[in-house]
Symmetry: C2
Subunit: 326 residues, 2 copies
Amino acid sequence: MHILILGAAGMVGRKLTERLLRDGRLGKHDITRMTLQDVVTPTKPANASIPIDVVASDFADAGAAAPLIADRPDVIFHLAAIVSGEAEAEFDKGYRINLDGTRYLIDAIRHAGGGYKPRLVFTSSIAVFGAPFPEKIGDEFFHTPLTSYGTQKSICELLINDYTRKGMLDGISIRLPTICVRPGKPNKAASGFFSNIIREPLAGEEAVLPVSEDVRHWHASPKSAVGFLIHAGTMDLNAMGPTRSQPWIASRARTSPRASSGCPIRPSSASSLAGRATSSPTARSSSASPPPRKRLTTSSGSTSRMSSAASSQANVTSRFFTRMRS
Amino acid sequence: MHILILGAAGMVGRKLTERLLRDGRLGKHDITRMTLQDVVTPTKPANASIPIDVVASDFADAGAAAPLIADRPDVIFHLAAIVSGEAEAEFDKGYRINLDGTRYLIDAIRHAGGGYKPRLVFTSSIAVFGAPFPEKIGDEFFHTPLTSYGTQKSICELLINDYTRKGMLDGISIRLPTICVRPGKPNKAASGFFSNIIREPLAGEEAVLPVSEDVRHWHASPKSAVGFLIHAGTMDLNAMGPTRSQPWIASRARTSPRASSGCPIRPSSASSLAGRATSSPTARSSSASPPPRKRLTTSSGSTSRMSSAASSQANVTSRFFTRMRS
């Protein structure tokens, strides 16, 4: 089995690569080859026992997709994206990468010919949902994204559904929540502070809390996110009926942001995307407070839109997005 | 006020033009100029008291939109589309006209500069919804189109919402039901037979009923459709909040297809888009039967997605689409 990862140099892409190489197989199939693509050359894993090609290319160039699928990878993990904050700030760039790039990819697949129909795992986002939310968001809750990023992800879901319905590919979109804690420097995601408020104090640095303390949000660990992707890459999608909907695969967490390591978490007055919506941030600095209290439970599953039983599970409420975006 | 109509040579476009010229005003504003565009040159209305430009152009050419908005029309009615059956049969053509064309238009608007922000009335469709349906479809029911046409309309709604949210235009999408009865020859809409079963018998011709008799569907008369468009062109969209959702504006009808004029309506065995889903069509020919019984009630209104009260009104159930597409 040949696996292609788009956006392989990112945090999730690297962890997915490591996991696949460690497992040596995806589902019932041995992995015999991998192609790792990103806008910067992905690091070639050391000591891999299978051929690994690394490719640096601009995913949103009209001709970039065809060579990537020329050797017909069996499974494509599509992680390439401009993150939420950046897509909001740079309108053209966001549409170019997050919409046009994906469209070039699926058009290249359908034009490949010879019955080529790879499994395409697309990383969508809970940003397809927009406030206001009910207490529980059911499977049939509509998409009213309130960011350009969420709009682009929602559009790609629709495209992948239609191309799949027409038999042009074997697509599945999963809506990732905020991946937390990200190591290293913050990226430009609007929800990046969820990592910051855990990561920075642990490193002895100050963290900024740009929302009020009662914000509730959905998280997944990087390890869980990789698990979701692998599940989406192997699950039997035929069970979802002729027209596949997007399953949700998500973790949830309630994070009570508290300072640890003696470093204060201070409320922000900045007019950032996140800060804009902060109505009344409350200062919270307590050097004696315990480490971040968090209950992190992971639930994963797939629900077709015909499944009402699964609906009650799909509680993807995000008060963070409610506050941030309304 | 300068009004631009895209797709002005079509049935609804012509009737909208007639109505606007007859009214002489749109909302509180006198109409001082009109531009009528279509892929074929629209007929210039006789004896119009205002300047009317007619333009033949390919809406989906990258450069077609800029000259159309160069004189900054205040209101744009965007009716240009490849209809459902044709968009399903001709995949590239459908995406080119129904998606790319609309994107060129809204990009031309945002690049026009000088604070240009016209009201854009986009004709979406109930095809954004896909079976299976609950008995009543609420405002917050998700979009899972089961045709490429519905996918394209749903994507355009998302784009228009995002561009409007960013202040680039003043957009509103309305989901038209099947416009019925269409005069003249059938078009390539999958739901065209709803017109046929009324129109053909009245003209002494046989009509084909490709679905079972208990199909329920949503209709609007051409006159009502024009009324919806004008309402969308004049309504106060600020009342919908900073992020506008698509109001529904629809008529509903229960049509009991019966033969009139002595011409039988016969069930179809053809494997057309509509016929495919016919599980057990029942022959129905009765030359003595009365003219088509129909109860046609028109309800129009706008609902933001924050309005739960309006939700109960938004009964856009379509058993036709359920059967046709499942």
